[in-house]
């Protein structure tokens, strides 16, 4: 009996020292104990696949094609321009609703804020880490830009800014433009914009 307990104890120590405890950091890929159909010869997104010369399972779009549902026609919703011209549309071609503004605010926080800052003044967090300060949305030159041009800047990029078309779909770009306009208005207001009865309150 004594031998038995000794052997068991030693075995336990051996297993523990070899296998460790649950949750220990490990560089080795997980062991699949019962690998029944866990890995199938099918394509998973962004996985490695030797079937194709470049080794990717996610394929690049074939040149000269567009995805279904993709923006394709020359309508102002997709280009920011009057059809058949290079003139930017002055006001956004989509109806401005509270939900559009809320969407724009959310998208602004995700995609624009890191460089342009929450106030849109170009002093986002990235400028503290060596980024050339991004455009200040309250610059009068930018405020006078037509909505279509704002849309195109997001789509195509400008100066140091890269194109965001692949990252932000067209409807979201219009939502961001709508929110930017609200952001600009927040700095353009004058005392006259405040209704007379409330002005004394503002002065406090």
């Amino acid at each position: 009996m004594r031998h038995m307990i000794l052997i068991l104890g030693l075995a336990a120590v051996l297993v523990l020292s070899l296998a460790g405890l649950r949750g220990c950091a490990s560089r080795r890929p997980p062991i699949e104990i019962f690998p029944d159909m866990d890995r199938q010869p099918k394509l998973r997104p962004q996985a490695r696949n030797p079937l194709f010369p470049d080794g990717r399972s996610s394929r690049q779009p074939v040149e000269g094609t567009i995805a279904r549902q993709a923006a394709w026609d020359g309508s102002p919703e997709n280009t920011g321009r009057h059809p058949g011209t290079t003139n930017d549309v002055e006001v956004l071609p989509v109806p401005v609703t509270p939900s559009l503004l809320a969407r724009g605010q959310e998208r602004f926080g995700i995609h624009c804020q890191p460089c342009h800052g929450p106030l849109g003044d170009g002093r986002g967090i990235a400028s503290r880490y060596g980024m050339i300060p991004a455009a200040n949305f309250h610059d009068p030159r930018l405020v006078r830009m037509p909505d279509g041009e704002w849309f195109r800047v997001i789509t195509e990029g400008r100066n140091q800014m890269a194109a965001y078309a692949s990252q932000v779909p067209a409807p979201d770009r219009w939502a961001i433009v709508a929110y930017l306009r609200a952001l600009e208005r927040s700095r353009l207001g004058t005392v006259e914009d405040i209704p007379e009865p409330l002005r004394s309150e503002w002065r406090k």
Binding site: V15, S26, P30, R39, D54, G55, R56, I125, Q167
Partner: protein
């Protein structure tokens, strides 16, 4: 006539039985402890081609998960960003840093950065990121405090019982939709069930418990 078997053999069957029982229990305990994703998967932390830190980007810079993982709201796969998205900032920030060399190479050649996938469910599991995210399941529930990780590791077991735990009692996990990406959000545990039940009711959430909910 002296006994053919000495006296100690009387104890032998009992000893063998007891020994087998103890050894069996020990083996069962070992299997129970080790033969589960809590051991096999949790803690997996491969060395990635680029030492990307979520702590730096999310905790320190305050970036949103969706800047890089853009597919998470609209697809079953959250997606890793391509090199051009990193380069939106890194063409200026740490522009010549050797750690970012694979990203710059990828940008130039178009070949992907060879990230190593950590969370890899079996191929017969169809986990839909957007379906969960849009109903108030946070990144946190499956990925842990990934916003604080210097190096990503497999934080939760992602076993079937792990999934079912939440599918059976979603109210213990659901969050308001605006807190899904705020991994530091903390609600009073006493209020979680009540609030979660309300969210499940208003969102008409009935997480599937049938096989075909996740397997097909």
């Amino acid at each position: 006539m002296p006994g053919v078997f000495p006296k100690w053999t009387n104890q032998l069957p009992l000893n063998i039985a007891a020994g087998l029982a103890i050894a069996g229990a020990a083996v069962a305990a070992g299997l129970g402890y080790y033969f589960t994703p809590k051991y096999t998967r949790v803690g997996y932390q491969p060395i990635q081609p680029v030492p990307y830190s979520h702590a730096t980007h999310v905790e320190q810079l305050g970036m949103d998960c969706r800047y890089c993982h853009a597919g998470v709201e609209r697809s079953w796969f959250a997606g890793l960003p391509d090199a051009s998205r990193c380069m939106n900032c890194h063409h200026q920030v740490l522009a010549g840093d050797p750690r970012l060399a694979p990203v710059r190479d990828s940008m130039q050649t178009g070949a992907p950065v060879a990230w190593i996938q950590i969370h890899r469910t079996p191929d017969y599991v169809y986990f839909h990121h957007a379906a969960h995210i849009r109903r108030g399941v946070s990144c946190l529930h499956c990925h842990g405090r990934v916003d604080q990780f210097e190096e990503v590791r497999h934080d939760q077991p992602l076993s079937m019982s792990f999934c079912l735990e939440c599918h059976r009692r979603p109210e213990a996990y659901l969050r308001p939709l605006d807190q899904v990406y705020n991994l530091g959000w903390n609600t009073d545990p006493a209020r979680q069930n009540e609030q979660g039940r309300l969210l499940a009711l208003t969102g008409d959430m009935r997480p599937p418990l049938s096989c075909s909910g996740c397997h097909r």
